[in-house]
Symmetry: C2
Subunit: 379 residues, 2 copies
């Protein structure tokens, strides 16, 4: 068709900075709520986000409820009381601790601080995707090491960090999405094998669930090790957004250069403080998590699938077939209104990942699983 | 003394990326809690952080209390319900709205997205310091325009944005720390005078307090205008961390490239949603804020100081002497356990800034002010 109207150039618009301009304009993370809106109905079992259905300690919930009436005040930008309580809890000094908006927020800040554009960040292929999201977001280059026997390959990670003189190497112990873990001794050997000027982000989000001997003793004299912990998992406060880093004084202090100082929710600070003082609830959560994990493993086994050992609040299950089958099973469970997730990377993608749930949720899983497996389309 | 031991070089440690390395290693923001810890006792009147002592709507507090028991779940990363409610409230489409961790968080993301290292960001000399903090944090260069007659100088800001082909220009209307405001018409003229490829961050944190005719009509067709709003001020939820931006679809969508997708607290989302549906409480807060502002102005006048007109929840007061006097008065009030703040920039620093308070707090201010003024050391 002939173009009769003169072409009108649109007005120039603000230009994205080069790093941002290179990023995809799509939403990289899909929450269960988004899936529910697409389905037009809620999930009956929420077993995909590695949350704790056993909730926060009653004392923490009470402390948060009490904090609401003072919610008109900005939170303490130093997070003083919580930092001091955490220091006491871990036997370190308060200036070895930085509180942030969940581990996600702290990971972003750490990448920003220590990975200049073009710097190398080493991680495992299929490990926590938010880390890769932050790396891309600050222009760092990700170098990935494959998993080995369903676990992060410590030797290969350290070798790759050395080979590339990496700015950052990331290790989750216990690991998500595989649920596997290394001994404290193995992690210490790994730390020794990484150059001292490579920052080690040691993500211990699932640390409370792990067997004794999994978490290395805290050593805040290591300038290049940041231990990352959270109130989102065992403490049952994922929606509140509170995590923390433990490390060398100067490495920890650097967060003050760039963090959003008033960013940690006042209610979360109150809740975390109370949660820390409720060890009985934590013990109960660990016991219930262990029982739910056992039940998920049984459901898998009964249905001819292979549950992997787990030191977390989820069980990763080898479906014994290809990635298409695992994806098909995830979809079939979603159609039965059960939300789970699955690893997506080659080498892991034949697995599905099921988070611990309430008894009722696992009853439903028990009931639905045989039909869901049967409903997966043949290759 | 002779050095007998051989000097041991410390092991190399992780190096900060160049932009982070150039930033000061100090905490740039001092909260009232920090001052209280230094004093060894709490303030009796908290009149320095522009918070709302009238609190969140009872319905919002109830909604947040109800949301606590589901705090073990991550919040909806799309902030779907809140975005849709805000869209309805403002008569725009949901994809013209981005919810974030307060305006502070959104400002940081906007600077990161639109100001490459070395890019120019134009603001007023003495305007919101968090903006300058983010600019430094992402390596942008700040060019400042002096205030004129205690207000941001719209003509000079726009001229400076044009002259420097600025990436970003920042305007708070109403203004903090001066409390002054421009008419919607003047702001629209300003917008027209700024290049269409300069992003205008129009911070309307205090917008709800302003007289009719202060906020321009929303025009989401302007690709270079982001309107920033918050639940921290009139809605009384500063500690909960929830703000939002309104703007062009593509400009708003860009936040998805870099934001912390699960970062907005689930409890805050529930509270904001309920707060929006409680217009009576908002009206009551606005009335009480106006009455408190009048009272603060009277206290100033009675004591021979000159209150400036305010469209916010604070009153900035010209002390009629130099900056040292204003600082001395702030210190004298602190010794009487009254927390206020003051502008620090040349041209504004002869003023103090007093946020609205409860009746009891203003009773104390009434009582203490004459002695505090008398206690300021002579030059």
């Amino acid at each position: 068709m002939p173009q009769t109207n003169p072409r009108v150039d649109p007005l120039p618009r603000p230009r994205l900075a080069p790093i941002a301009a290179a990023l995809p304009d799509t939403v990289p993370f899909t929450g269960p709520e988004t899936l529910e809106r697409r389905m037009g109905q809620p999930f009956l079992a929420r077993l995909g986000a590695n949350e704790s259905p056993f909730g926060a300690a009653p004392a923490a919930q009470a402390a948060m409820a009490a904090a609401l009436s003072a919610g008109w005040k900005y939170g303490d930008p130093e997070n003083h009381d919580l930092r001091h309580a955490l220091a006491g809890h871990h036997g370190v000094e308060p200036d070895h601790i930085m509180v942030g908006e969940g581990i996600d927020g702290l990971l972003g800040l750490a990448v920003r601080l220590y990975a200049a554009p073009g710097a190398i960040l080493v991680t495992s292929l299929g490990a926590y995707p938010t880390l890769n999201y932050h790396a891309a977001g600050f222009g760092a280059r990700v170098v990935s090491v494959p998993y080995r026997d369903n676990a992060e390959d410590l030797t290969a990670l350290a070798a790759m960090a050395r080979q590339h003189a990496a700015a950052i190497v990331y290790l989750a112990n216990p690991d998500n999405p595989m649920g596997s873990w290394h001994s404290a001794e193995a992690v210490e050997t790994f730390i020794d094998a990484v150059p001292t000027n490579t920052l080690i982000l040691l993500d211990e989000a699932y640390g409370e669930f792990a067997p004794q001997g999994t978490l290395p003793a805290l050593d805040t004299s290591r300038a290049n090790v940041l231990r990352l912990r959270t109130f989102s998992k065992a403490y049952g406060m994922a929606g509140l957004r509170c995590g923390y880093a433990i490390g060398d004084r100067q490495t920890i202090g650097a967060f003050n250069r760039v963090r959003n100082h008033f960013g940690v929710n006042a209610v979360a600070q109150a809740g975390a403080l109370a949660a820390l003082a409720a060890p009985d609830h934590l013990a109960d959560v660990l016991a219930r998590t262990g029982a739910a994990r056992t039940r998920i493993a049984q459901i898998a086994t009964i249905n001819g699938l292979r549950p992997l050992p787990s030191a977390t609040n989820f069980v990763t299950i080898d479906c014994g077939r290809d990635a298409a089958f695992a994806s098909g099973l995830l979809d079939a469970l979603a159609r039965q209104r059960i939300f789970i997730r699955k690893p997506m990377a080659p080498g892991l993608d034949h697995c599905i990942r099921i988070s611990v749930g309430s008894d009722l949720e696992l009853d439903l899983l028990t009931q639905v699983m045989p039909n869901a497996i049967a409903a997966v389309p043949a290759d």
